[in-house]
Symmetry: C2
Subunit: 339 residues, 2 copies
């Protein structure tokens, strides 16, 4: 009962601070929210909340501001995920649906996410390790050069050039191609190691070197981690929020230019809800102490393949942003399934 009100107060503080970006005082609180008690009571609660570390005052005689811990509690206990409106969902689906290829899906996603959250958006490319081989093509570029094109069911295409020790004729290539296809198509790429084992051995002796070169290249291409690519968009939103924190924006921009950093931001364990929130100092990255990162995993079929998310100030609209990130992840999954 008493505890309940305290939490209500914390929620109110977070909501007010998020919308005004100014420290919130006891009087303003009772005015804006119908808490049914007097400011003095609220003050007592606030003192308690401060003792527990959920809120803090920037300086004496100022209102309270949520701490990272306060936001954490807010996210974990006090708020849900705000679903998007039907119109928004329809717009998302249409926008993503008209993408022509994987690159296009990724680019559209990052733009979309930045636009609807009005924050910096990150999108990681789907990992191929979970995918299966859809098709392999061997093309003779010159007598001693073969290009291998690998097409995954995710729509991703990898290309490699293989140098042969001697000339290779078309029919041999066609033979290799046919047997290679039967060896790997449809198999999860993680398993290709096994299924491809017999391929070299079953090749005619004179093609052994080429066959093993092809296998080596194939394995290399498959372990090429496309999911180490992260694209970002909406950095202009940083400047908007940066008006109040002109100092903070440079380190953030710097951090966001490092692929490694982006990967660390996205690549952590999944929460059960499907949306992961990392607040302020919880971030494993220097320079992002005053930002929060909200990520969700997206999938293809029922396999989780990669993450996407947004980076914004700790005083962000968590329910709305979480809803948007969740919805976009969901729709990206759907689009990938369709293809």
């Amino acid at each position: 009962m008493l505890e309940d009100r305290r939490l209500a107060v914390l929620r109110a503080i977070v909501e007010d601070y998020v919308s005004t970006h100014e420290p919130v005082g006891s009087k303003a609180l009772v005015e804006r929210h119908s808490l049914g008690v007097s400011p003095a009571t609220i003050r007592n609660d606030m003192a308690a909340l401060e003792d527990e570390g959920y809120i803090a005052q920037p300086h004496t005689s100022a209102g309270r501001v949520p701490t990272d811990l306060g936001y954490r509690h807010f996210v974990d206990r006090l708020s849900g995920v705000k679903p998007l409106s039907a119109a928004e969902r329809r717009a998302i689906h249409e926008f993503l649906g008209s993408a022509v290829d994987l690159d296009d899906v990724m680019i559209r996603t990052v733009r979309l996410l930045a636009q609807i959250t009005r924050q910096v958006a990150l999108v990681q490319y789907p990992s191929l390790t979970e995918s299966t081989v859809r098709h392999i093509e061997l093309i003779s570029l010159s007598p001693t050069r073969v290009m291998m094109v690998l097409i995954a069911n995710t729509g991703r295409v990898e290309q490699r050039v293989i140098e042969c020790s001697g000339p290779v004729d078309e029919s041999a290539l066609a033979d290799l191609r046919a047997r290679l296809l039967s060896a790997v198509v449809g198999h999860p790429s993680a398993r290709v190691d096994d299924t491809v084992a017999g391929f070299t051995d079953s090749s005619p002796p004179e093609l052994r070197p080429l066959a093993s070169a092809i296998v080596a290249t194939l394995l290399d291409a498959m372990t090429e981690r496309i999911d180490e690519r992260v694209i970002l968009g909406g950095t202009a939103h940083l400047a908007r929020y940066g008006e109040a924190f002109p100092l903070a924006i440079q380190p953030v921009l710097e951090a966001l230019e490092e692929q490694v950093v982006l990967l660390r931001l996205l690549g952590e364990e999944t929460m059960s809800t499907g949306v992961t929130v990392r607040i302020g100092h919880e971030n494993p990255v220097e320079g992002l102490e005053s930002t929060s990162v909200i990520t969700a995993r997206y999938s293809r079929g029922n396999k989780t393949v990669a993450s996407l998310g947004v980076v914004g100030p700790t005083h962000m609209d968590y329910p709305g942003t979480m809803g948007a990130v969740h919805a976009v992840a969901q729709y990206v999954s759907r689009i990938l399934d369709e293809q």
Copy 2:
């Protein structure tokens, strides 16, 4: 003689302002540069320069600041292009030389350029208009969906998904594929329009719709211009410079997020020197009125293929930046030739 000194004064003002970012007064000028005359004389010159529109004062009783016109004169008449040191050149060559593919070259270039100029760097992908079709693959994804993979002799791969009105069987697809290959392989992509004309007509009636869909997609994919891609890096440098102009950074970031804008920044006529400088309002882009853009074209063989450059505040180090942009363009050309 008299005219000479005025220009020397203008040069001194630009140099001082660029290094201090503060309006420069007559007294400071004579102290820092050995002009051999008194402050009063300089004041007369400054008044004249102001009348001619080369400099301006932010407010009465402040020093002078170069106008866009002043910078223009400085660049055109008063400064050269500062060459890089041998060590820097060597570092550039090594850094770019270890790139593994085209994407890698582009990414390394944009990083390099941002780093050595300490500004926002832009790099446009090289245009590949003279490429020919090496191979086309049609893959059935589902009964009514076909993926087309287009491989150009440059190693570029394009993929498209085509929706069919009815189910398509494998043998029909194989037939289409074979005839498509003979129609287009080896032809310059610019000519495919012609050679592909008979393809639809020669198809069996029941495949006509699919055939024409394939042709349409093919033409679309071929005219997909890779050189419409521009990547950028070093946006963090904006923030550094933005400390003094916190308001200006948001529109700049916004403008830089638009591919169309980036293309307009890069895609203009070449100057004879090889380096183009566009100062302040000379930029054809809204929001970049207080920035300058320095670009250079790079080439492959003796064909100019695309541009790269940097965006920075109008009060930038023109000679140094021009030198860096020029050198990087030169080395990118060299790297592309080697491949």
